[in-house]
């Protein structure tokens, strides 16, 4: 394993002494060439963390080290202009009084003119904007502005590039294609990247590894698959898509729950809180011989390749994704069954209200 390029240790930042820290004891490390994401709802401290890495925000305590050089932590922070870290801002922050060419060449002033021109041309070529070199920023579309901002950051050959919600100002259609293009570009240049986003789909599809943050703290670190399939907390499981949370009495790798006996993802004893994603559940027809009472289908949304059902039991509702071959209608009675092992969460079982999974938007707004 290579030494990490960026190491952040116990980073803490407080804006107001009366309030809890905005960034609270945050630590992570990024490998060279890796795309790393900070994911969390707005106000969770992810952008502040990013700005501290860039040197745009002062650090209260903690250390930031890049390539063996201490950027923060000995009381003498390296100023932003000497860090060699590129930054692509949410609103791109292009200089409106300069052409695309001069925007991109801004950071190369100390190079001889010919070399500067060559580099600018290559950077614009890389982002596919050679034709717009003499345009003013306002003449470009949002997607083009974004690519200029990227070229401007890349052309200075930084060791690390920071992206602050880079796709949030693009419309939905453009966002997906731009995301793929930018990811390919970053990977082809081998650029180490730190991305901040509140969009879970963006983080899961864009990053090699990610950190989920909530209220200034790190909830979980891991690859997208790990974080999605094995969330460690109720917050993570809800923030990354929808989930059903249930109580259970664990006995080793099984637990007794309202669904009957289900498998668990690890061995544990005692009362536990378990997360079951809707797609890890399925519906079975109910008949008189079943030893459990049935639920009633109260909602059915056909989405083409799958169907989302809401099924009501006396105590609560459940969310289930099935393939499009199941044929239940609203009002039918059915039983629930788990297809995959339940994921045991670290939260104590009574700390989280076990109820209908809310929409992800509601979690983001409430957090």
């Amino acid at each position: 394993m290579m030494a990490p390029l960026l190491e952040v240790n116990n980073l803490t930042k407080r804006f107001d002494r009366r309030l809890p820290p905005v960034v609270n004891d945050v630590s992570f490390a990024i490998e060279p060439g890796e795309i790393f994401a900070l994911l969390g709802p707005s106000g969770c401290g992810k952008t502040t963390s990013l700005r501290m890495v860039a040197g745009l925000e002062s650090v209260d305590s903690g250390r930031i080290r890049m390539g063996g050089i201490l950027l923060e932590g000995n009381g003498k922070p390296v100023p932003a202009e000497n860090r060699g870290i590129g930054f692509v801002f949410q609103d791109y922050a292009l200089f409106p009084h300069m052409t695309v060419n001069r925007n991109v060449g801004f950071g190369l002033r100390r190079l001889p003119r010919d070399e500067r021109r060559r580099k600018v041309r290559r950077a614009l070529d890389l982002v596919g904007l050679k034709a717009s070199a003499e345009a003013m920023p306002f003449e470009l579309s949002g997607g083009q502005q974004q690519r200029v901002a990227l070229a401007r950051a890349l052309v200075a050959e930084p060791k690390l590039i920071l992206l602050d919600e880079p796709f949030s100002n693009l419309d939905a259609v453009l966002r997906e294609t731009t995301r793929v293009e930018v990811r390919n570009l970053l990977k082809s240049t081998g650029m180490t990247t730190l991305l901040v986003t509140h969009d879970q789909e963006e983080a899961l599809s864009f990053a090699d590894r990610l950190v989920v943050m909530n209220e200034g703290r790190i909830e979980q670190t891991g690859t997208p698959e790990e974080v999605y399939n094995r969330p460690r907390t109720a917050f993570v499981s809800r923030f990354l898509g929808r989930t059903n949370l249930i109580d259970g009495e664990a006995r080793g790798c099984m637990a007794e729950t309202v669904l009957g006996r289900i498998r668990l993802d690890r061995t544990i004893w005692g009362r536990v809180l378990v997360s079951l994603r809707p797609e890890h559940l399925t519906l079975r027809p109910w008949d008189e011989r079943a030893n459990r009472p049935p639920g009633v289908i109260v909602g059915r949304a056909f989405k083409g390749h799958d169907i989302t059902y809401r099924i009501r039991f006396p105590d609560r509702e459940w969310l289930v994704h099935t393939d499009n071959r199941t044929q239940f209608q609203t009002g039918d009675r059915a039983l629930l069954a788990a297809l995959e092992p339940g994921v045991v969460l670290d939260d104590p079982p009574d700390s989280v209200a076990v109820s209908t999974p809310p929409e992800p938007a509601e979690i983001a707004a409430g957090a």
Binding site: L56, A93, G107, R152
Partner: protein, 525 residues
């Protein structure tokens, strides 16, 4: 008229909006044209004598260095103030904004009178402290009295520009390796250029036209020379030539400004704003900051007010407030009607510019600003000569004075009306039309109620300007007509500082009240 407008574009501006705008343009252009004709009337030999006088060069040099000096004073005050209000977390920032705006209430000639009354053996300072520094006069006197009065124009422009700028741009520059000085010179300053130009233009035009302060300070400029030639030497031809030279000077300034501005098209790109995060904490630097703010307030507001009040107590036989009241009545009879007429003229012009932005309406709009850009003494001279020759019925009458004041200061009320109009979407008017309103009815039932506040602000600005107005009143007022401004200047010009005090105080109280009111309104919205 409607025909050629139609040829410019299909959607024709309604005549009831075009007509007032066209009238305003004509009313300004015709007398100015006559002034030029009058000047060209001079014989060849006489003309050569007029043009090659050494005095013209001196006047030119004096006017130029006055403009430069005033701009420097204004910049030194306005830059730090604007930066403090827009970019720092200094507490009580609205107070700093006050300090930056209130001096507008103290006209240049009152400032000049106060500075003259401050120093010297019998000055206010000598009375308070026994210390009698030499009296400030001449070039430096003129520079400070006008600079302390006009710096708010630069301050307001800079403040708006600084607040509108995206702080992420400065962060971006730093991430690209630029230090804070480099960032300021390569990113911040270039974007302030339009604001600097706009503020400097207003100040420059004011300096070119100012007569009261320079005359009191005994500093010769074009404007002051026009007055001397016309009112004291009765030489209309030379006065016209001086006015013409001043117009050329003004035109050159306007052209220069337009050229400098041409390549700076500033659009904010993107939409993010980090708001409070971008503001700087001053820490201990707040102490020198407040010291600076306090000094500006002391020099621009406290000193003139205190000087005037102290002279008031020296009044030989008790203050004769009766005279002051009658002068106030004179001021009001000119400024109240002028303000309303200006508002009524500005409304259609602003409406045309916002709703029908074609080349022809832009020409009309520009010509409405012509009177504002014309130095007031040149404008007054043009109207005097024109009415004397062609409309003797209104020569030196109150209606003429009111009309010319309205014409000149109307430009000040276009801005607030226009901003209000931008809030009123054309969709609303279209909705009213589909509900059965004629264009005029739609305007009065839907748009007018929305712009009435902007109209109020615009009218108040004109009222304030006409109250403080001096040069137009000098040449155009009927015989025996008195205003506060005239009396302040006349007494101060004779070094009768005590006699000038009640008029000056009354003028200041009214101006300060109005400026305070406008500020308060801006703060509450």
């Amino acid at each position: 008229m409607a025909v050629w407008l139609k040829s410019w574009r299909e959607r024709r501006a309604p005549w009831m909006f075009v007509l007032p705008a066209a009238l305003v343009a004509l009313a300004t252009l015709v007398p100015l044209a006559y002034l030029i004709l009058q000047a060209l009337d001079a014989e060849g030999q006489a003309l050569r004598e007029i043009l090659w006088r050494r005095r013209n060069l001196i006047l030119f040099w004096n006017t130029l260095r006055l403009v430069v000096g005033v701009l420097l004073v204004a910049a030194v005050i306005a830059f730090p103030l604007a930066w403090l209000t827009a970019r720092t977390r200094l507490p009580w920032r609205w107070l700093v904004t006050m300090v930056g705006v209130l001096p507008l209430a103290i006209p240049g000639y009152v400032m000049a009178y106060a500075l003259l009354g401050l120093g010297g053996n019998y000055g206010a300072l000598a009375q308070w402290t026994g210390w009698a520094p030499p009296r400030l006069s001449g070039y430096w006197g003129a520079v400070f009295s006008i600079g302390l009065y006009t710096f708010p124009y630069l301050f307001l422009n800079l403040r708006t520009a600084l607040m509108g700028m995206d702080p992420a741009q400065e962060d971006a520059a730093r991430c690209l390796g630029a230090g804070s000085l480099e960032t300021f010179f390569r990113v911040t300053l270039p974007q302030l250029r339009p604001a600097i130009l706009a503020g400097s233009l207003i100040i420059g035009l004011y300096v070119l036209g100012d007569f009261g302060a320079v005359a009191l300070m005994r500093f010769e400029t074009f404007s002051q020379a026009i007055y001397t030639q016309y009112a004291l030497a009765y030489d209309a031809v030379y006065a016209s030539w001086l006015a013409l030279l001043l117009l050329v000077f003004t035109g050159a300034v306007l052209v220069m400004e337009a050229r400098l501005l041409r390549r700076t098209l500033l659009h904010k790109v993107g939409s993010g704003n980090r708001g409070k995060l971008g503001l700087l904490r001053l820490g201990w630097w707040a102490i020198p900051a407040w010291f600076f703010i306090g000094s500006v307030f002391l020099a621009s507001v406290l000193v003139p007010v205190a000087t005037i009040v102290s002279w008031l107590f020296q009044y030989p036989e008790g203050v004769r407030w009766v005279d002051a009241w009658s002068a106030l009545r004179g001021s009001l009879t000119a400024s109240v009607p002028a303000a309303f007429i200006a508002g009524a003229l500005a409304l259609p012009i602003a409406y045309l510019g916002v709703r029908y932005p074609t080349r022809s309406t832009r020409v009309l709009e520009r010509s409405a600003y012509l009177a504002y850009a014309t130095p007031p003494l040149a404008l007054a001279l043009a109207f005097t000569l024109f009415t004397y020759r062609f409309l003797p019925g209104i020569y030196q009458t109150l209606p003429l004075l009111i009309g010319v004041c309205a014409l000149r200061y109307m430009a000040e009320s276009v801005g607030p009306i226009r901003s209000a109009l931008y809030q009123a979407s054309p969709r609303m008017e279209e909705a009213a039309r589909t509900l059965g309103c004629t264009p005029l009815a739609a305007f009065f039932r839907v748009i007018f109620p929305l712009v009435v506040k902007g109209l109020g602000v615009g009218t108040a600005l004109v009222f304030l300007s006409v109250m403080k107005e001096l040069p137009l009143t000098f040449l155009l007022s009927p015989l025996g007509f008195e205003t506060l401004a005239l009396n302040v200047w006349n007494f101060a010009n004779e070094a009768m500082y005590a006699e000038a005090a009640p008029y000056a105080l009354m003028l200041l109280v009214i101006s300060l009240l109005f400026v305070g009111l406008l500020l308060f309104r801006e703060r509450s919205t």
